[in-house]
């Protein structure tokens, strides 16, 4: 049996109310809000969050392949999945690829991972994340959202078995963006509805149901994802689905999260699914992919540490002005401070476990955890008695803090905290996703992988603290 062993999701903390856009630009306001990646997040850092979540739910998973899907890869050339693998502390012995070019890549990654397990891999990771932009005043700006999702696929302890898959690829002009462009173009909606997505989604549904000999009424949940919302409505109507069968499109809470979207809807559906139930997922863009899943008995024993619902509820507002600054749509006056220097290749390689995985060291002579990793023990001064000690999943408390209004940041003031970890170890780092004037000594924090800055085109990823979500 091949299928999903665990999943993880990530919705960034910040929300932009659609009415906040309309207040500034005067455009018609949509309902609800969209999720917004913070100034220090991108598709890759969000992917790390979702991946860590999925791996926590599948302890001991022997991941041999990693597929990272996004339409907003941080690097155009340089394997983004390699950074993801390092941050998730995956071994070097994995196949890794970035899948991009279309929002469908998210579901494609899941199918690819299932096939890799079919080909003999113990476990494969499918991760999708997107940091979706839209030009100010446009529909996409309001409708899009930022999020990430990750699935561990395997052949044992499967909670949702892959019963059937279908893939269709067809060339037509609907959504396109050149490498040097930030905002996508789209053709008019009626063309895509009648000539592309309508027929393609319909065909994918028809084929997969026929393949599995399943009728629409047998489906507990249907995840329909397409950049063309009306195509989704039409297919649902044609299938004669009851509204209760349709998965929450998360339009009012997250927004259309690109490559992550169908996976995020699936993750939400899985958390409520019962053994024996079937979930159909269809993602359309430049064609359509579909997967039919059957929830297994193992799902009753599965516990998801961080549900999509919890991620959606844990939130704080961002003003439209800050959003425009964070996405660098609105240029701002630089501070009178030197630009940060780019991180250097050789030291980054030497300290990769530390930098990407937040792996410190623990003295085997006196038992003291410490970070960054040391050779001479900070407590007992023993030399080279260290073993690796991972801090990423440990919570800590704020010992003291500083608000820095002078340091370079897209979101001043920078909040710095001294974190004392449960179980030992102290670290000074930035605090993110917080209200600067509310941070207090004794606050509980957890660690999150972020982009500190870019310099000379090198994106400097490292860890920050954030209030526990």
């Amino acid at each position: 049996m091949i299928g999903i062993v665990s999943y993880g999701s990530y919705v960034p903390y910040r929300r932009l109310k659609r009415s906040a856009i309309s207040q500034v630009l005067g455009v018609a306001a949509g309902k609800g809000e969209r999720a917004v990646a913070s100034f220090d997040e991108d598709s890759l850092s969000m992917a790390v969050e979702a991946t860590r979540d999925a791996l926590r739910a599948a302890p001991g998973a022997a991941v041999q392949a990693l597929y990272f899907a996004t339409t907003t890869p941080p690097y155009a050339e340089k394997l983004n999945a390699a950074i993801l693998g390092a941050a998730a502390r995956l071994p070097v012995e994995i196949r890794a690829a970035d899948l991009t070019g279309s929002t469908r890549a998210g579901l494609t990654a899941l199918l690819q991972a299932a096939d890799t397990v079919g080909g003999g891999a113990r476990h494969a990771l499918a991760v999708a994340a997107d940091c979706r932009l839209g030009a100010p005043e446009g529909k996409a700006e309001q409708q899009n959202g930022d999020a990430a999702v990750a699935f561990v696929l395997g052949s044992e302890n499967v909670i949702a078995e892959v019963e059937a898959t279908v893939s269709l690829t067809r060339e037509f002009l609907d959504t396109w963006r050149n490498p040097d462009e930030r905002f996508a173009h789209t053709w008019e909606e009626r063309f895509a509805l009648t000539q592309a997505y309508g027929p393609l989604l319909g065909k994918a549904v028809q084929q997969i149901l026929a393949k599995a000999k399943v009728a629409p009424k047998d489906l507990a949940k249907v995840v329909l994802d397409s950049p063309n919302a009306r195509a989704v409505d039409e297919v649902a109507r044609a299938m004669k689905l009851d509204p209760s069968q349709l998965a929450d499109p998360l339009a009012l809470t997250v927004g259309q999260a690109g490559a992550a979207h169908p996976g995020l809807m699936l993750a939400a559906a899985l958390s409520a699914a019962k053994p024996g139930e079937r979930i159909l997922v269809v993602s359309g863009a430049d064609g359509a992919d579909a997967v039919l899943l059957r929830v297994t008995d193992a799902a009753t024993r599965y516990s998801q540490p961080r549900s999509v619902g919890r991620m959606i509820e844990s939130k704080g507002d961002v003003s439209y002005g800050s959003y425009l600054k964070w996405r660098e749509i609105l240029p701002t006056e630089p501070p009178r401070r030197p630009d940060p220097i780019r991180p250097a290749g050789p030291p980054m390689l030497r300290t990769a476990n530390w930098k990407y995985g937040l792996v410190g060291s623990r003295c085997t002579a006196c038992g003291t955890p410490q970070l960054p990793p040391q050779r001479v023990c900070a407590r007992c001064r023993a030399l080279d008695k260290m073993e690796p000690y991972a801090f990423a999943d440990r919570v800590g408390r704020v010992a003291t803090m500083a608000l820095d209004r002078l340091a370079f940041s897209l979101n001043p003031p920078t909040v710095n905290v001294v974190v004392d970890f449960e179980g030992g170890g102290r670290f000074i780092c930035e605090m993110t996703d917080c209200q600067p004037d509310r941070v207090a000594i004794g606050d509980e924090v957890e660690m999150t992988f972020r982009k500190l800055f870019s310099a000379d085109g090198v994106r400097n990823y490292f860890w920050k603290a954030r209030p526990k979500r």
Binding site: P335, P338, P343, T351, W354, A378, L406, V418, I441, Y461
Partner: protein, 394 residues
């Protein structure tokens, strides 16, 4: 402790110090020439009498050439030293040990910094190539970590805490107003300090030392030779310098209400000088008031106030110019300014003036023993220098 000390074996026989501030019309070369010739004249020596030089600068030049070229030093040793903001004191310490060893008869310690040419706000130090994990905290933020920790530990509400910090800045400006060489030479009302724009909460811009240009120099000789140069030299009682293991950033038992490095260097210096009760025996001190909470914590680390009580001494005026133990009578880093490489020597310059009765309107009554404290780095990870000097041997 391994240090033996050189009590009363070395004397300062001349010092020079430039005006500190915004020297738009002077480069580091000009500042060095001024401070050096000022010191030669003060000691009554010819430039050729100086056998060796120790130059302290953090970022205004590399190598001994930074000094030997503008001064046209004729083929003599010039050692460039750097120890963060304690650079100037480190230059002095090296020069003192050099003459004490007998290797040279006359040595100069000189420090310079030209900060106002960078175009940036605050101090700029560029890190060597690294893995990008070193953090991005500015100096005011790093030192502001002390404030909430100290307030919480000793039960000061934030408003009271801010009053204490503001009074420290107020006192230093009040002293600096009496100092013609200070960068800021006027008193600042306490309300203006309290309400200054926030830099690193609770620190405002008026809690920060002045960013300035300047240079200072000292000429040192063995004590037995001092009277060849002048009848009123000052004597080195103690020189202590420690670098810490950076413990405060890795050990949760450090609580950000002390500098362990300062405690260690103060203990060492007091032992060298034979001081048993600093609060009673020290007549005056120049301490490293880079930011107001630093000075607050230093009072306790240097043994001027028992733990948890320095804030009361501040409010009582204990450290004022007319208090029991005047601290930063020259205005300190706050008002005199903080050209990094020069600051440690500037502190000693005030000792030089005060111990010899040349401090003008801010002259203290009959000071006998003075202390300078100079710190480099940040709370939890720093180097610390403490010296004790006196006007008499014994």
């Amino acid at each position: 402790m391994a240090s033996k000390g050189i009590k009363d074996r070395v004397a300062i026989v001349g010092m020079g110090c430039t005006q500190f501030g915004e020297h738009w019309d002077k480069g580091p070369d000009d500042l060095l020439v001024e401070a050096a010739y000022d010191a030669y004249a003060s000691a009554g020596v010819d430039r050729n009498d100086v056998d060796a030089y120790w130059l302290g600068t953090l970022g205004s030049g590399f190598s001994g050439l930074t000094l030997s070229v503008p001064l046209k030093i004729d083929y003599r040793p010039v050692t460039h030293v750097e120890n963060f903001c304690a650079t100037g004191s480190e230059a002095l310490r090296q020069a003192c040990y050099a003459v004490a060893s007998g290797a040279y008869d006359v040595a100069m310690a000189i420090g310079v910094e030209k900060l106002k040419d960078s175009g940036y706000s605050g101090l700029v130090i560029s890190d060597p190539p690294n893995d990008g994990t070193l953090g991005n905290m500015t100096a005011p933020a790093s030192f502001s970590l002390l404030a909430p920790a100290y307030f919480k530990k000793y039960g000061l509400d934030p408003e009271k805490g801010k009053d204490v910090l503001s009074r420290i800045a107020w006192k230093n400006h009040r002293n600096g107003a009496k100092n013609p060489k200070a960068q800021f030479r006027k008193e600042v009302p306490i309300e203006a300090i309290k309400n200054s724009p926030k830099i690193a909460d609770p620190l405002g811009i008026m809690d920060c030392s002045g960013v300035s240009d300047g240079a200072a120099a000292a000429i040192v000789v063995r004590a037995e030779d001092a009277h060849k140069y002048r009848k009123d030299p000052i004597y080195i009682k103690a020189l202590s310098f420690v670098a810490g293991p950076g413990d405060g950033h890795s050990n949760p038992d450090y609580d950000f209400t002390t500098f362990r490095e300062v405690v260690a260097s103060a203990e060492d210096a007091y032992r060298q000088a034979g001081i048993t009760n600093a609060r009673e025996q020290i007549s005056m001190a120049e301490v490293h008031d880079c930011f107001t909470p630093t000075e607050l914590v230093l009072y306790e680390d240097l043994g001027f106030s028992p733990r948890g009580t320095a804030w009361k001494d501040v409010m009582d005026g204990f450290f004022d110019l007319d208090g029991k133990l005047p601290v930063n009578p020259d205005g300190g880093l706050k008002s005199f300014g903080h050209p990094i490489g020069a600051s440690g020597l500037r502190m000693m310059y005030e000792m030089w003036l005060q111990l010899r009765g040349e401090a003008g309107p801010r002259q203290l009554r009959d000071p006998k023993l003075g202390l300078t404290h100079n710190l480099g780095g940040v709370p939890g990870k720093c180097v610390s220098f403490v010296s004790v000097v006196g006007r008499e041997i014994g």
